[in-house]
C-alpha cells in the first residue's frame, strides 16, 4: 500500500523506475485531499493505469458511504423489486466515478448468507447461485454504464470456508458446481477475476494463488479470457512463504496481476533481489508476456 500522504521524491522515483502504475487505495487515502494526491502520482509517474478500491457496500467501503450491506440490499430487493438494488449499485459506481477511479474490486460472488463465517458475513449476495448471479450481473452492468471495471471474487468461492484467509490458509475440500456457477455465468462479462488464498486438495498441493492447475481450470473450463488478479500477497494465509517466493509462484501460476498491500519499499527491495531470477526464468518470461498481452487487450497498460 503506498503511503497515503507525504510521498517522498525517493519513493516516487522508485515507483517511476519500476513502472508502477496500477494502485489499490484504502480508507486512509481518502481522508485527505484525494484529487491532489492522485494528481501528484499522475505527474510524478509516467502514467497511471488501474486505480482500484474495494467498494462492496456495507462494511467494506473504502470511500465512506452510507450503504446497506450487499446481503441486506439483495433481501430488500427481493421484496421491493430490483430497482432498489439498481439504485444502490448506481450510488457505488457514481462514487467511484466521482473520484476518477476505474476498477471496483467487487462484487463478491462467494455463496453465503447470515450464517457465513464472520469475515464474509453481510458481504455476500446469498446462498442461491442463480440469485447471486442475477444481482452480481446488475452490479456489473451498472458499473459498465459508468465505465468502471468490476472484479468477480474470490475464485473458486469462499462459501463454507471457515477460516479468514487474512489470518491463515484454510482448506476447501470440494469446489461445487454451485460455487462455480456465478463465475461461469459472469466470466464473459467481466475483465477481472480475483482468486483467493485457499487450498483445494482435489486441485493441487499449492494454494489457489500458486496453482497452475486452478488457473488452467479458470481459463479452460470456464473459458475465461480476462485478467486474473491475486488477492493481497501479504495475507496471513501465505505467511509461511517468503515474499520473493510468493511473487514468483503467483507469477508462474498464470496470474496476470498481483495485489500487494504491504510496505512498498519491502516490495521494491524484494523485486531487486528477484531481478536476476525474473530475467533468467523462461517460464516467467512466457507468463509475463502472456499477461502483458491480456492487459493490453483491455487497454489498461
Amino acid at each position: 500500500m503506498i503511503k497515503p500522504q507525504s510521498l517522498t521524491s525517493e519513493e516516487l522515483s522508485f515507483y517511476r523506475d519500476l513502472s508502477f502504475k496500477n494502485f489499490v487505495f484504502f480508507k486512509e487515502h481518502f481522508n485527505g485531499d484525494f484529487a491532489s494526491y492522485k494528481e501528484l502520482l499522475k505527474n510524478k509517474l509516467k502514467s497511471l493505469g488501474l486505480l482500484a478500491i474495494d467498494q462492496e457496500g456495507g462494511q467494506v467501503c473504502r470511500i465512506k458511504q452510507d450503504l446497506e450491506a450487499p446481503l441486506e440490499i439483495v433481501k430488500k430487493s427481493q421484496k421491493e423489486g430490483k430497482e432498489v438494488f439498481i439504485a444502490w449499485a448506481e450510488k457505488i459506481a457514481k462514487t467511484l466515478k466521482s473520484y476518477e477511479l476505474n476498477l471496483n474490486l467487487a462484487p463478491v460472488v462467494d455463496l453465503g448468507d447470515e450464517s457465513a463465517s464472520d469475515f464474509l458475513k453481510g458481504r455476500t449476495y446469498g446462498n442461491d447461485p442463480k440469485l447471486v448471479t442475477f444481482f452480481a450481473n446488475i452490479f456489473i452492468e451498472i458499473h459498465k454504464k459508468w465505465h468502471i471495471n468490476t472484479t468477480l471474487k474470490h475464485f473458486p468461492g469462499l462459501g463454507e470456508v471457515k477460516v479468514d484467509p487474512h489470518l491463515e490458509l484454510s482448506l476447501k475440500e470440494r469446489v461445487s458446481s454451485e460455487d462455480l456457477y456465478p463465475f461461469k455465468e459472469l466470466a464473459p462479462k467481466v475483465s477481472f477475476i480475483m482468486t483467493t488464498h485457499i487450498l483445494v486438495p482435489e486441485w493441487d498441493t499449492f494454494p489457489v494463488t500458486f496453482s497452475q492447475r486452478a488457473i488452467k481450470f479458470l481459463r479452460e473450463f470456464l473459458n475465461y479470457q480476462g485478467v486474473i488478479v491475486s488477492d493481497d500477497l501479504q495475507m496471513g494465509a501465505l505467511a509461511r512463504y517468503s515474499l520473493s517466493e510468493r511473487i514468483i509462484r503467483t507469477l508462474v501460476s498464470g496470474h496476470n496481476l498481483i495485489i500487494f498491500c504491504g510496505k512498498p519499499l519491502e516490495l521494491v527491495e524484494t523485486l531487486f533481489e528477484l531481478k536476476s531470477e525474473l530475467e533468467k526464468s523462461q517460464v516467467i518470461k512466457i507468463r509475463v508476456k502472456e499477461s502483458l498481452t491480456i492487459l493490453e487487450k483491455y487497454f489498461i497498460l
Partner: protein
Amino acid sequence: MIMNLTFQRIVEAIKKAYIEACTLLPREILIEFKRALQEEKSPLAKRGLEILIENQEIAQREGLPLCQDTGLPVVIVRFSSDYCLPWLEEAINEGLKEAVKEGYLRASVADPLHRINTGTNTPAVIHYELCKEPTFEIWLMPKGCGSENMSKLLMLSPAKGLRGIKSFVLEVVKEAGPNPCPPLIVGVGIGGNFERSTYLAKRALFRDLGTLNPDPFIAELEKELLEEINQLNIGPLGFGGRTTALAVHIETQPTHIASLPLAVNLQCHSARIKKIKFI
C-alpha cells in the same frame, strides 16, 4: 467454422499443450498419488510418493519438465469429415518443434539406424480417428521410452483364454520391474490383429484415469488385474509397496477366430496427456 482452424492456431495450441503436458502433471494423477500416500504402509513407498509429489511441485514452480525424457509425441486426431485439413501434420510438427525450443524440452527423437537426433522431437506418431458428430480434437501424449521399451505384444493362442491374458499382463509388469518408473498405468489392447492390438493398448492409455471400460465384464477384468498387479510388490519407483499401478485400462476389438492378439503398453507415473478440443 473450419475458417477458425488456422495453421497458426493449431501450431500455438500444440506448442502450449506440449510444454504444459511436460511441466504440469494431470490433476487426476496427483490425486491418485495422494490417495496412495495415505494407503501405503512401507516407509520407502511413502517416501517414493512424497518425492513424486515434490517433483511435480518443483516442475510447476520452475516451469521445468517433470522428467528429462520429454518423450516421443504420440498424437491422436479425432475429426469429422467436415474438418479435413491437408496441412494438419505439418502444423502439428511445427507446434512440437517450437515447444522443444521455447520450453527447453530435451530432443529425444533420432533416426532408428544412424541414430542421428532430429533435434526437434518430430516427426510425431500421428493417428486419426474419424468421428460421426462434428468434432475436431487433438490429443497429445509425450510418451517416455522407459515405459515404452517395457511394453510387449503377444499373439496368444485363443485356447489360452482369459487366464492366458491375465498371466501375460502380469508377466510384462513383473519383468519390467522398476524400469518403466511405476506407479504405472497399464494399457491393454485385446483383439483386432497384429498392429491393431498395439494401437488399442495405446488408445487405452488416453482414457481418463479412474474410468472403467463401459462393458461390465471388461471393467471387472480391469479391477482384477489392477488388484493382482498391486500384489507384485514392485511399488512406487520400484522400492516395494502396494502402488505398482494406478489403473489398468483395457480396450478390445473383434479378432480372427484363430487369433488372440494381446498388447500391453505401459505408461510411467509422469502420465502426460493433453486433450485439446477445438470443436
